[in-house]
Amino acid sequence: MPRWGMVIDLDKCTACQACTVACRAENNVSFAGLNGYRRGRAIFWNTVIGRVEGEFPEVQGIFIPMPCMHCDHPPCVKVCPVGATYQDEEGRVLQRYERCIGCRMCMQACPYNRRYFNWRVQEWPDTFALYRNPDPETQPRPKGVVEKCTFCVQRLRKAREEGRPIGSDYPDGVVPACVETCTGGARYFGDLDDPESIVSRLARSPRAFRLQEELGTEPKVYYLRPGQWEPET
């Protein structure tokens, strides 16, 4: 059984946000508009966090693309009172929308802010309805439930049905939408239980780290920090 993980090389990331738009198109995430956005109600299964700090001219900018971390020890799963959020046998943290009661405990528990509440009925005004992805897993979530990144479960399901390989190890391997479009080639997807997979090898890089590792959540999204080449062990 594979254990899916992702590696994001911050040295190659261009902060272009193609991942964010690709995710919204693939997973039928609509938009919130100005008011919704300002009230924090825009839904981004994937987002790029940006921060510019310092004092001119000594300034630094940091940009971190963030999908769900799909933790091996996911705090969101522990707190869900109704078993709506769970970890599947391939390590993905998923959501059963029909069971979710919208209590948002999971959003409180997630240290990465990677969960979003549907404050309203998602809308596809007029002809926008035509571009919706017909895949069953991606159908719009009802008002009042929490939703999140799935590592594009529908893509992996279809890959298996069609007998196609999965992961960045294959030139034509099926990968989540954010990985497929990643302009800088910064994202990799694959099986962390296969020690020879690209993601496993990159996760062993001296540049590798995970967000808030000290919490013990064991995220399956690894980052590679920018920096000069050094002998890889």
Binding site: K12, L34, T47, G54, Y131, E161, G185
Partner: protein, 804 residues
């Protein structure tokens, strides 16, 4: 069409495209049998296919694959068969679905029945709309002459400039005014003056070891966007053990600045001085590529011409004290020791690249800045060398038929242009788009009767934009081809709405970048949604209708073509006959089918050092001393060069004029009243000005400030404190030509003497998500020009800022 899966494109792409394979550990076995498309369809009940086409959210020409389910486009991906974007696509490309399915599109041909701008449209048939326009054109040609019509055009990709322009040429107007002069024309002009190549430059990012970018924001709006973004990843980790150093020069702390290894926050408009100081150090320390300079450069050493007149060479010029790092540090705000260090690194880390774009070239001194930057490439031998610059080869398409010109057309074409391009006023530029409104108002050189807008919107995109309203509203007849009710279109008399790029036959010849030829197809991925029509078809129908009314032969150049598909087949025949590149076939039909399936014809690799192509100056060398510039200026100077230079607002005199040098930038607005430079910019999510009505992009607008759906003005926190402005305050930004209201964003990356605003917001028309949202920068940008080139000096406006 045979249904194909995305997987097939990898196979079809063929050899030479190693992008995706390079990261893999090699193929491993996969035990399951792939389902055929038919089997999958039977299981899911969905008719699904991937259609190859080409993006048009910017001029980058990225190849795309569109997932089409039951006739609806539901996802866009990059096409792995293209060596341009290699299977990836940027956020603008991803958001193309919201462009196609924009609910505010124009749904059929329109005639304005009320006041202009009153939205009192009547939807008419295509026959009626075209007849209406043809009759007007016939009347104008008869009464005042064909030159009184202007064809203003913008994003002409592939065949479109020639195809649309062919009618206007045969009609007889010299006023084919492209938008290059409000864009980046200074750079092609600088390349022409120094190398003879009159276009943008390709850059071999993939193989370079050191990059100096002057105002060219690789990670935002520079083109081809996705290619540049990919190259960034390759420069960082694409060559084991080597990480290309990227130095970014810009007054603005952009995403590129944040991601670069070093950011030099230069004073706006002084890039030419910095480049000259770098040249000074390289020459003084003898770090330049002596072999390249000896073999392939002209005018480096002092020289004597055929008449025995002695001339200064670039070496003497650059070594002058005024270009020493210490002196230039005072001009640019870049410390002298930094200049020296950067110069040494640049000259000793080979191959190295000096590139420039928007920030350095869209200035009053843009041509000379760009020449100075390009001179750095010559100094380190990076002209047409691996890791250096490239020219762009095109596909061997069948040549165009020449339009038939009758006597009226010949007379019209001989008239001076409305923008005075290539005259004493603007000797180097091929067009001066931003001058058109003023000349219309002054009726100089004559009165204008009609303007056509194709893929361009001067009511939004020129400096001091109110001029457009004043001028164009006085023109008796206005026609737009736009699929969207943008500002220009809303004020037209007739709208002949085009399809969007995902519904039409069109092509794309790559923007200079990868060097080797790359020709991609834009084919309809879905049936047209509305009663719109390919502008290429419309122009042929218009020409034929016009000929019927006027008894002319303007449609002769369109042969027997009925649709753009016919046009593309005509053009493609030449490529098939060349029998090279990734598609070779016995019959043309077979070739055509393969092109539609693969989406791109390309012929790698690039051959470096074809000097007869890459260096086509009078000397056949890189001209540090531009003989072309000297000849052009002398041609118009009427014997008094110094007077002419004063007229062109050039401060240099003598031989320096013809060489890369620093011209101080000019500004509009008294520094005491308007203390700040206004720096405006495009974020990556802008889709180059036609994507404002795209909610997905609006909702992620400025990643560096984490702002969306509205504009902002970035201010240095100390400056803001002094002005009593806090983060989020509503403020007025005021220039000598107007003021706009927006919100202050305190930004540590801001220079204390600059404020920064993003483009694309503040539409007064357009769709529901664009209209009335944020502030339009062009309402406060004043008109200033690089007089010699006829290009816009976009960064010349000074502003003041105060709480609203």
């Amino acid at each position: 069409m045979k249904p194909i899966t995305r997987r097939d494109f990898l196979k079809l792409g063929g050899a030479g495209i190693a992008g995706t394979a390079a990261i893999g550990a090699g193929l491993r076995g996969w035990p399951l049998r792939a389902m055929s498309a038919a089997e999958r369809e039977a299981v899911t009940g969905l008719e699904e296919r991937w259609v190859a086409s080409t993006c048009l959210q910017c001029p980058g020409g990225c190849s795309i694959l569109v997932r089409v389910v039951n006739g609806r486009a539901v996802k866009i991906e990059g096409n792995p068969a293209s060596p341009n974007n290699r299977g990836r696509i940027c956020p603008k490309g991803q958001a193309g679905l919201q462009f196609l399915y924009d609910p505010d599109r124009i749904k059929g041909p329109l005639i304005q029945r009320g006041e202009r701008g009153s939205d009192n449209w009547e939807m008419v048939s295509w026959e009626e709309a075209i007849r209406y326009v043809a009759e007007k054109l016939a009347e104008i040609r008869e009464k005042d002459g064909p030159h009184t019509v202007i064809y203003m055009n913008g994003r002409n990709r592939g065949v479109m400039h020639h195809h649309m322009g062919a009618f206007f040429k045969a009609y007889g107007t010299p006023n084919d005014v492209g938008h290059g002069s409000i864009c980046e024309d200074a750079r092609p002009i600088a390349h022409k003056l120094t190398t003879g190549w009159s276009h943008y430059s390709g850059y071999d990012w993939e193989n370079t070891a050191y990059v100096l970018s002057f105002g060219g924001s690789l990670l935002e709006a520079w083109r081809p966007t996705t290619h540049n973004l990919q190259m960034w990843g390759i420069m960082r980790r694409g060559h084991p053990g080597r990480r290309t150093k990227i130095v970014y020069i810009d007054p603005r702390f952009s995403v590129t600045a944040a991601k670069a290894d070093e950011w030099l926050p230069i004073r706006p408009g002084t890039d030419g001085a910095l480049a000259m100081a770098i040249a000074h150090v390289i020459i003084k320390e003898e770090l330049y590529d002596k072999q390249f300079v000896a073999e392939h450069a002209f005018g480096f050493e002092d020289w004597t011409d055929e008449q025995g007149v002695a001339h200064m060479g670039f070496k003497t010029l650059a070594l002058q004290e005024k270009y020493s790092p210490e002196r230039v540090a005072q001009i640019t705000d870049i410390p002298a020791e930094t200049i020296v260090r950067i110069a040494r690194e640049f000259a000793t880390t080979r191959p190295a690249l000096a590139a420039g774009c928007r920030g350095s070239s869209m200035q009053t001194n843009g041509v000379f800045n760009s020449m100075a930057i390009h001179a750095l490439n010559a100094l380190v031998g990076s002209i047409d060398r691996p890791g250096g610059t490239m020219i762009q080869y095109g596909p061997p398409c069948t040549p165009w038929p020449e339009p038939v010109l009758d006597e009226v057309a010949k007379q019209g074409l001989a008239m001076p242009r409305i923008d005075y391009a290539k005259t004493r006023r603007h000797p180097l530029g091929g067009k001066a788009y931003q001058d058109v409104p003023d000349n219309i108002l002054k009726e100089e050189p004559y009165k204008i009767n009609a303007v056509f807008f194709y893929y361009t919107n001067p009511f939004f995109s020129i400096p001091d934009v109110k001029r457009a309203y004043e001028a164009f509203m006085k023109v008796p007849f206005l026609v737009s081809f736009s699929p969207f009710m943008d500002e220009a279109t809303a004020h037209c008399d007739v709208v002949l709405p085009d399809h969007t790029y995902l519904e039409r036959w069109h092509d794309d010849i790559i923007y200079p970048s990868i060097g080797f030829p790359h020709w991609s197809i834009r084919q309809p991925v879905v049936e047209p949604l509305w009663d719109t029509q390919n502008a290429g078809d419309t122009i042929m129908q218009l020409a034929r209708e016009f000929d019927r009314i006027a008894g002319t032969q303007t449609a002769a150049a369109y042969l027997d073509w009925q649709t753009m598909e016919d046009v593309l087949k005509y053009r493609a025949r030449g490529v098939w006959e060349a029998r090279r590149g990734n598609i070779v076939a016995d019959t043309f039909e077979e070739w055509w089918q393969k092109w539609l399936e693969i989406g791109v014809w390309t012929d790698p690799p690039y051959e470096f050092g074809r000097w007869e192509k890459a260096l086509t100056t009078p000397s056949g060398k890189f001209e540090f001393f531009s003989q072309t510039l000297k000849a052009e200026l002398e041609k118009h100077a009427n014997g008094s060069m110094d007077d002419y230079l004063a007229e062109l607002k050039i401060t240099a005199r003598g031989d320096e004029v013809f060489m890369p040098h620093y011209e101080p930038p000019r500004y509009v607005g008294d520094e005491k009243v308007y203390p700040f430079h206004l720096i405006h910019y495009k974020v990556i999510t802008h889709a180059e000005g036609r994507g404002a009505n795209t909610p997905w992009l609006q909702e992620i607008l400025g990643v560096h400030v984490q702002e969306a759906w509205d504009s902002w003005v970035e201010i240095n926190p100390q400056t803001a404190k002094r002005l009593g402005i806090e983060d989020g305050d509503e403020v007025w930004v005021e220039s000598p030509v107007g003021r706009v209201k927006t919100r202050a964003k305190l930004y540590p990356g801001a220079r204390p003497d600059c404020v920064y605003m993003p483009y694309e917001l503040g539409h007064r028309r357009y769709g529901r998500w664009a209209r009335g949202r944020g502030a339009a920068v062009n309402e406060i940008v004043a008109l200033e020009e690089d007089q010699m080139a006829g290009t816009t000096g976009w960064y010349s406006t000074r502003v003041r800022i105060y709480r609203a």
